[in-house]
Amino acid sequence: MAEVTFSSVGKVYGDGTRAVSALDLEVQDGEFMVLVGPSGCGKTTALRMVAGLEAISEGQIRIGETVVNDLDPADRDVAMVFQNYALYPHMSIYDNIAFGLKMRRVRKSEIDRRVREIAQVLGLHEMLERRPRQLSGGQRQRVAMGRAIVRDPSVFLMDEPLSNLDAKLRVQMRAEVSRIQHELGATTIYVTHDQVEAMTMGDRVAVLRKGELQQIDDPEELYDAPTNLFVGSFIGSPAMNLIQARLERRGGALVAHLGTQALELSTETAAERPALGAYVGRAIALGLRPEHLREPGAARPGEPTLEGTVTVSESLGSERLVHVEIPATPVVSEEVLEVVRDTDAALVDELESDARERRAIVLARFDTSVRPRPGERIAVSVAVRKAHFFDLDTGSAIYS
């Protein structure tokens, strides 16, 4: 096993498009590092540069102590699992898994031993003679993993390996992949655009946007302390509610005005973030995660509420997702739109028109006992202690 180090790595294509800029990243030995971000953020490019499938335009990538910029993929001791598995259709499963070893001229008896061992672990021992087309999607995925594992490489590279599986299988395989990685203690770089996968699987997660690293942290940090608007809206499902608010001072306390309503911030919040003082009289982005917007009764004494009209109420069985329309302006900055566009381009127009009309639709998580009806006016409890604040111009989070 080995560490992987990116030092100011950049990638520029022949026609001038830049895919990655000044990437500094260190993957520890044995760590499961996830690269996550919307389409086009450069995560796959970064992965391919480690593999040697893309040339490195700027900077250096080291595997262990060795600079690998000029090394062929075959000489880097890396193994890769592709999104569409890339199994050799004309070879049996056995030959598929054995291929890498064969190319490295490992002794036949050794190949046989290792292939059968891996096949046993992955539950593929019954299908070694079959062809890829005879296998199901999940089985093919395991063959792809087997092909990588059997080579016992320094680094595992995975390019969205689960995205072609159906939802239930994907959940199952997530656990499988994590388990295998832990057992092997293998340094792994995993690319995905699904932030749920990122959060559940990674030891640390690196969020990329337009070729630039936004934040790298363990999942909890990423969730609780996003460094900018982009990370804040990208991480978390359902997404963080972002509303424009004007900060005012009233008495000794800070108050956030959302449209016609006012939320008084707690003294601790003001104390923890002295920088907020500089934004008095200005607009900022106020972020509230759905779980911090609760049903009316849940408010603790002193906690403010927001009034609005229920538009949709979705029952998830374990809880209820309630969409509430509030007369305030949602945040429609570039970062937010990019995240929305990555989900569904049609929603961008909706969000922009909402902003123009000053209607913010926030998602709240209610207990199932409360059943609001569409059209009903409701007062949502706000756990304002957990609010996030972002500068509207720079997108940076306001923490200190």
């Binding site: 080995a2 595997i63 075959a74 880097r76 001791d77 001229r105 320094s154």
Partner: protein, 305 residues
């Protein structure tokens, strides 16, 4: 950790070939390029050079002037032009047959196999057989006579007025299959819903095919026209040679440019004049080749996906 480091970066044992880097594709292509450069490149350069020479001396455009003044050459060109008249006939017939095959009339696979057969037969074989059939007392005339149509029995290959038309007929007979299959393949690759929708909308045979089928064939029709035009101009040597014993007869009734080049070079032993004639022929074909190239690019029928 140290063993890992030893692995990364060391090339595998027994690397036989040196690293080729950016020149690698050229290594793969090289053998083909060499052969093509020789067969086409060397030949054409030599051809041009020869066409400007006379017994080793520079003759500038002398050979071209002589060739263009030669009535036989001009006749040959005219005949190639007349052969071009076959192209629209081919297109129409091929369309008709491919449409009928497309409609999957009973037994269409058999018909398809039969209609394509002439295209794979060797031209010399075809030419000999038709030579027999089309003789003065050959099968065609005897058949006509037995049907009481003796008046129509002519010397198909022997009479100057008929010879070229007869030749055209044979060429059409052979080339038709290619067009029919080509169009059929294209039709089969089209989404079937278009036709179903049109049928429901009330289009029957003639209108259906006129408004729906034929327009969708535009791409392959253009392709076929260019291919067959090139054929008529410079790929008919075999027919003429075999059916007229290399003479282009009767008289010069079936003389074509290719035959002219062949005769000038090998019968009259005048390689320079033959080269000039070949250059002219190539120039004519070149125009068509450019068309071919353009059509490839425009209709996306090329290697560029």
């Amino acid at each position: 950790m140290t063993t890992r480091q030893a692995v990364i970066g060391t090339p595998r044992r027994r690397r036989r070939l040196p690293k080729l880097g950016r020149a690698e594709p050229l290594v793969w292509i090289a053998p083909a390029l060499v052969l093509v450069a020789f067969v086409f490149g060397y030949a054409m350069v030599e051809l041009f050079r020869t066409s400007f020479e006379r017994s080793g001396d520079w003759a500038s455009l002398e050979n071209f002037r002589l060739t263009l003044d030669d009535p036989t050459f001009r006749t040959a060109l005219v005949h190639n032009a007349r052969l071009l008249l076959a192209v629209p006939v081919l297109v129409v017939l091929a369309m008709l047959i491919s449409i009928l095959l497309f409609e999957a009339i009973r037994g269409w696979r058999f018909h398809r196999a039969a209609i394509f057969l002439p295209y794979v037969l060797p031209i010399p074989v075809v030419a000999v057989i038709f030579g027999q059939i089309l003789q003065l007392n050959g099968l065609l005339n005897r058949g006509l006579q037995s049907l009481g149509l003796g008046a129509l029995a002519v010397d198909w290959l022997g009479q100057p007025e008929w010879a070229l038309w007869t030749m055209t007929g044979v060429i059409i007979w052979k080339e038709l299959g290619f067009g029919a299959i080509l169009f059929l393949a294209r039709l089969l690759s089209l989404p079937v819903e278009t036709f179903e929708a049109a049928r429901i909308d009330g289009a029957r045979f003639f209108r259906l095919h006129r408004y729906i089928t034929v327009p969708q064939l535009a791409g392959v029709i253009a392709f076929y026209v260019v291919i067959e035009a090139i054929t008529m101009v410079s790929w008919v040597f075999n027919y003429v040679y075999v059916m007229t014993n290399g003479q282009g007869g009767p008289g010069n009734a079936t003389m074509v440019t290719e035959l002219y080049v062949y005769q000038t070079a090998f019968q009259y032993q005048a390689p320079e004049l033959a080269a000039a004639a070949a250059v002219i022929l190539f120039a004519l074909t070149f125009v068509l080749i450019v068309f071919f190239f353009r059509i490839q690019r425009r209709t996306g029928l090329g290697v560029h996906e």
